[in-house]
Subunit: 228 residues, 2 copies
C-alpha cells in the first residue's frame, strides 16, 4: 500500500522503517525537506539524514506531497504540531483516506511548568483525534498506537511476547478495518475496537498514567493488557 | 484494625463485608442513619437494611462517629459527595489517619448530558484525591482501588486468577505501606506504588478508558495488567 507518514521524529522513523520492511511504499512528509536533511544530530537523536541513509527506499517530501500520493496516512507529528501539519498536508489530500492519529496532545513544557507533572492540552470532553476529525471532516480518522512506546508500535512481540492490547477507535468502520489489518501485520495479537472516535478521550487521557508508570518503572517497554 | 467506611453504597458494602470477614472492626458512616435504615430497595440495589441483616457485626453510624473511632478510613462516597462527606466526618477525626480515596470524580449526569460520553469534574492538572488532601492537610490520603469494579476490589483473584495490577499513590509512605498491606490481605499480588498523590490524576483519568472498555466488552469484570 502507498502509505504517508507525517512527521519525521522517532515515531515516524520507526513506523516508516517497519512499513517499508513489510513491503509498503512509504513517503514521509515534513515541513521543509532541505532543512530536515541538513539538520545535525542532537544529544537526544541522531541526524535524520543518517537514518535515511539506512532506509533509502523511504521517500521524503513535503507534507502535501506525502499525503497526496498516499492511500493511508499516519499522523506522527507532535500534539501541538498536528493540526498545522495536517493543514499543510491539505484537506483535499486527506479526503476519503484513512488518517491514523498516533499523536498525544501533551501540553508543551515551559520554564514555569518544567517540574510539574505532564498534562494534556485537550481532554475529558474532547480529544486531539476529534479535533482533527472536525477540522478534516472528509478524512477517516482512526486513533491508534498512541498508548505504546515507539519501540512497541511495529514490533509488539518485543515486550511480554506480545500478550498485551492495542486499541482502535473511529467513526468509519472501513478505516478501522484497514488499520486493524495493518496492526495485525505488525504482529499485534490483541486489537480492541473501542467504538466511535469519542473513545480517543480515554486513549489520550491514559497517557498520564502511562507517563507515571514509565517513571516509576524506569522503562518505556511495557504495555497494558486487559485481563478478564 | 478499626476501619471506617464513609459511604454505604455498593462499594462501601463490598469493602465493609470483606474487611469484616478478614477480622477487622468495621464502622460504616452515613449522613443520616435512620434515613439509611428506612430506605427501601430500588430496581438497581437492594435495601441497605437487608444487606445489614447479613452483616450485623458491621456498625453503622454518622460520618463523624465512623471517622472518630477508626484508625484507617475509606472514602467510598461518590465523587461529588466526597468533600461534603469528609467535611461532615470532621477534619479532627481524619487527622493523622490514613484516608483511602476510592472515589472517582465523574461529572453527574444531567438531562442534557445523558447521552454524552462520561466525563470527569476534575482532571489533568488536579484530581479529587489532591482536592481532598488540600482540604484535609492532616489526613494521609492514599488513592487506590478506584480503577477496578467493586467485585474485584476485595477479591482480585475472581478475575484472571488475580494476575493484574492495583495501584497506590500518596504523599505519606507510612500510609501507603498500611494500604499496601491491606491490599495484600485482600489477595492483591501486583501492587504498584506510583509515587506522590499527583499520580491520582492518571488513576482517575484512566476511568474514561475503563468505562469504554466496560461498554464494548459488556462486563465490568476486567482489570489492567502492566506487561513488561
Amino acid at each position: 500500500m502507498k502509505i504517508g507518514i507525517l512527521g519525521t521524529g522517532v515515531v515516524g522513523q520507526t513506523l516508516a522503517a517497519r512499513l517499508d520492511e513489510l513491503g509498503h511504499s512509504v513517503t514521509m512528509g515534513t515541513r521543509d525537506v532541505a532543512a530536515l536533511m541538513a539538520r545535525p544530530a542532537t544529544p537526544r537523536a541522531p541526524a535524520f539524514s543518517d537514518w535515511h541513509k539506512q532506509h533509502p527506499q523511504v521517500q521524503v517530501s513535503s507534507f502535501a506531497e506525502a499525503a497526496a500520493q498516499s492511500e493511508l496516512i499516519f499522523n506522527c507529528t507532535s500534539g501541538v504540531g498536528s493540526l498545522p501539519a495536517l493543514e499543510a498536508a491539505g484537506a483535499h489530500n486527506l479526503a476519503d483516506k484513512t488518517l491514523v492519529d498516533v499523536a498525544n496532545p501533551f501540553q508543551p513544557r515551559t520554564a514555569q511548568s518544567v517540574n510539574d507533572p505532564p498534562a494534556l492540552s485537550v481532554c475529558n470532553t474532547d480529544s486531539l483525534a476529534e479535533q482533527i476529525q472536525r477540522a478534516f471532516p472528509e478524512a477517516k480518522v482512526v486513533k491508534s498506537l498512541n498508548t505504546v512506546n515507539t519501540a512497541l508500535m511495529g514490533t509488539p512481540q518485543s515486550v511480554g511476547g506480545g500478550d498485551h492490547h492495542i486499541f482502535v477507535c473511529g467513526n468509519h468502520d472501513d478505516a478501522k478495518a484497514q488499520v486493524t489489518e495493518l496492526l495485525a501485520s505488525f504482529g499485534w495479537k490483541h486489537i480492541l475496537d473501542l467504538g466511535d472516535l469519542t473513545a480517543a478521550r480515554g486513549l489520550e487521557m491514559v497517557m498520564l498514567l502511562w507517563m507515571r508508570l514509565r517513571d516509576v518503572q524506569g522503562t518505556s517497554l511495557f504495555n497494558f493488557k486487559i485481563v478478564r
